[in-house]
């Protein structure tokens, strides 16, 4: 332990720790803009400056390691003045349109200006004007609101290893943009939206579909159907000011009905359906010598990542559509037939923790005969806004059950929302398909938790199974590179694009820290612990769906409705 003095108070720090981390642990808040937990300090924004006795210049707390006997001061007039000046300079090149900004109220720059007491415009001059990039179906970029903190660039490069954006040009002309300054839709962007989560301002936000959904809800000729993803019910609470990790499933169903949705279905039902198809596909591949390891296909960011960076692994991707798209497909086929409604009169809206789902539902593969399986995707954040716009108080509502026939789920479908959940659910059902018996203990501990890569070696019947789970595409890349180098002991791989899985998706509430994400994950596993029906094949409505409509897993109807194929994609990598 190293001890140092901060504002006269003795503080213990781990050797090599930065001043910033030591101070934060002690409850001393030092403002930052460029700092990212878990990544090397960049020291670019200089907001975290402190005074260090014996040095003339102010020192950045984020990059300076603690040394024994160090004496620092964090709140002298000089420090506060320096921080305020930095914010004032940033504001001098920032649009004054907070009232119209999608990030208004949640903007870190706005908070800093308030916290540091910026009350007047000290610097005036020309502001750099840049055009809005509306080219992506998922992400809206407003570079004139960018303060060049570099967090999106680092998230994209260091966590996701995509590098769709980088700093372009120099000095006062510098901006964050794509290769050749093209639209995001032409770049290698995989639409994961992690950049939105780390952006301190309104420079990055989702492409909103709220207007279209509000219009559909008001159209009496349309049957408007909502489906909600497993990870939304455990994160929506934060949008309405409740504690992270609160499950609001039933209240959310009630709220969606109040908003005007004619039917509310649970995407976790489609996750159960995905498991039936995907576990069958896995068993089929293993027994017939198909391409292995099979890789999950639920996460649309990951799919685009493979199409661009690792096209040789496209045959490894499960042909299963994602739960969102499966649900969309059976709504516009089985459900439409059953209710005797023209599919064209159904507006299918999915509530997702994800921005890439917006891209996915617009993929040509997902619109058989030009009828999209899913019409609009709203993120968790957009749903929060919809509820506020319509004056629906989630907290005050009584819980309601989702509609038949696609409202009932097992907990196997629910844990899809966390990294490792798809694998756990699939192993449970694959075990049943292979041995004809249920697993003794359904909880598979090695697949749980926030670790980037998790592995499982197990025996199902006489079959040795090697499984790996990765979340965050940097971790996925590691696994793929191992496969490229000849690793042969894996049969099944689950990849989720976002670190930790959908619970930390790019459409989730802004400002969540690691603890909130953990709380969301625990909420999912609590549901799995507490509810009785924990395997997808035990979902009675899944059985009925197969009996009445689909036939059997991997059957002809499934093949047409629930499966697809992907193709190599040419973009500047």
């Amino acid at each position: 332990m190293t001890t140092f003095l901060a504002d006269g108070r003795e503080i213990a720090a781990k050797p090599g720790e930065t001043i910033l981390l030591a101070l934060r642990r002690e409850g001393i808040h030092v403002p930052t803009l460029c700092h990212m937990d878990g990544l090397a300090p960049s020291g670019a924004c200089r907001l975290c400056v402190v005074e260090v006795e014996g040095t003339g210049n102010l020192v950045t707390a984020c990059s300076c390691p603690v040394s024994e006997g160090l004496k620092i001061r964090t709140r002298t007039p000089r420090v506060l003045e320096a921080r305020r000046t930095i914010v004032e300079l940033l504001l001098s090149n920032h649009p004054d349109d907070c009232l119209y900004c999608p990030r208004g109220g949640k903007c870190e720059l706005q908070h800093l200006a308030m916290d540091l007491g910026v009350r007047q415009r000290l610097y005036r001059g020309a502001k750099s004007k840049r055009e809005l990039d509306v080219s992506s179906p998922s992400i809206l970029r407003d570079p004139s609101k960018c303060i060049l903190c570099g967090r999106c660039v680092r998230m994209c490069e260091e966590y996701q290893t995509v590098s769709a954006v980088d700093f372009i040009a120099r000095g006062s002309r510098a901006f964050v943009g794509t290769a050749f300054n093209a639209g995001l839709n032409l770049s290698s962007c995989i639409n994961c939206g992690q950049c939105i989560l780390v952006c301190p301002t309104g420079a990055l936000s989702e492409r909103s579909s709220l207007d279209a959904v509000v219009a559909a809800l008001a159209d009496p000729t349309k049957l408007v159907i909502a489906q909600h993803a497993p990870a939304v019910s455990v994160s929506l609470a934060e949008e309405v000011g409740l504690k992270p990790g609160t499950d609001v499933d039933g209240k959310m169903v009630a709220a969606l009905r109040r908003v005007g949705f004619d039917r509310v279905f649970d995407t976790s039902f489609a996750a159960d359906l995905t498991i039936m198809e995907e576990a069958s596909e896995l068993v089929h591949r293993v027994t017939t010598g198909g391409v292995l390891p099979m890789m999950t296909s639920c996460s649309p960011g990951w799919i685009k990542f493979v199409e661009q960076f690792y096209p040789e692994f496209i045959p490894n991707l499960s042909t299963c559509k994602s739960p969102q798209q499966m649900m969309g497909a059976i709504i516009k086929s089985f459900f439409a037939q059953r209710e005797n409604i023209e599919p064209g009169n159904i507006v299918s809206v999915s509530i997702m923790p994800c921005t890439a789902k917006k891209f996915e539902c617009a993929r040509p593969e997902m619109q058989p005969n030009h009828v999209p399986d899913v019409d609009y995707v709203l993120t968790t954040r957009e749903l929060g806004q919809l509820l506020r716009m319509f004056g629906v108080n989630l907290a005050a509502l009584e819980a309601e059950a989702a509609d038949t026939p696609f409202g009932e789920r097992t907990t196997a479908g629910k844990i899809f929302g966390a990294s490792g959940g798809v694998m756990e659910a699939a192993v449970r059902t694959a075990y049943y398909l292979i041995t004809g018996q249920e697993m003794g203990d359904l909880k598979i501990q090695p697949l749980r938790g926030m670790k980037g890569i998790k592995e499982l070696r197990t025996t199902i019947g006489t079959l040795d199974v090697g499984a790996a789970v990765a979340s965050g595409l940097g971790n996925a890349r590691q696994l793929l590179d191992q496969l490229r180098a000849g690793r042969k002991d894996l049969q099944f791989i689950e990849i989720m694009t976002c670190p930790g899985g959908c619970i930390n998706g790019g459409g989730q509430p802004i400002g969540a820290d690691l603890e909130s994400v953990r709380a969301r994950m625990q909420a999912l596993y609590k549901i799995d612990r507490d509810e009785p029906r924990r395997v997808s094949h035990a979902n009675p409505w899944i059985t009925r769906l197969y009996d009445e409509f689909l036939g059997k897993p991997l059957g002809e109807k499934s093949h047409h409705l629930l499966h697809t194929h992907y193709h190599k994609r040419e973009v500047p990598l």
Partner: protein, 160 residues
């Protein structure tokens, strides 16, 4: 248009890492006059660097161009001495005459325009450099005439 062949240049840097990026870009620009999209992507593959990163580095430095240079590459100096001697109005005259902005090439491929910081010829300011030839103490009118002469020259050549 045919893409420049940069394979011989890349072959001179086998197994190169990111520290070789700028020398490679310089060699390509010296040989071919500019960096095309395909060239940047090819360099990225060679060095295992994302295209966005290479584009970011290349746009950081003024020396790199992204459009094919014209037959007449016009460099207008905007260094301090030239500025004092009125290079801004020279630049404006060139922009007006060629109808392109700095960094662009005319549609007929005849002229390209580049603004440079200082060519080390302050004694001749304001100075314009066309294809390596210096034109000293230019005025907007003089400069316009030089450009028009180049164009006439081309038309005359095309005529015979």
């Amino acid at each position: 248009m045919v893409e420049p062949d940069i394979e011989p240049i890349l072959a001179r840097h086998p197994g190169a890492g990111r520290e070789t990026l700028i020398p490679i870009l310089q060699e390509i620009q010296t040989a071919h006059g500019y960096l095309s999209k395909d060239v940047i992507m090819r360099v990225g593959k060679h060095l295992n660097l994302p295209t966005s990163k290479i584009y970011g580095v290349a746009t950081f430095y003024n020396q790199f161009r992204f459009t094919r240079p014209g037959k007449y590459h016009v460099q207008v100096c905007r260094g301090t001495a030239c500025h004092v001697k009125g290079s801004l109005s020279v630049l404006e005259a060139v922009v007006k005459e060629l109808k392109i902005s700095p960094g662009q090439t005319t549609r007929d491929g005849l002229f390209s325009l580049e603004v440079v910081a200082c060519m080390g010829a302050c004694g001749l300011s304001p100075v314009v450099n066309i294809n390596g030839e210096f034109y000293a103490k230019v005025t907007p009118r003089k400069c316009t005439r030089i450009l028009q002469d180049c164009r006439h020259q081309e038309h005359a050549n095309a005529g015979c």
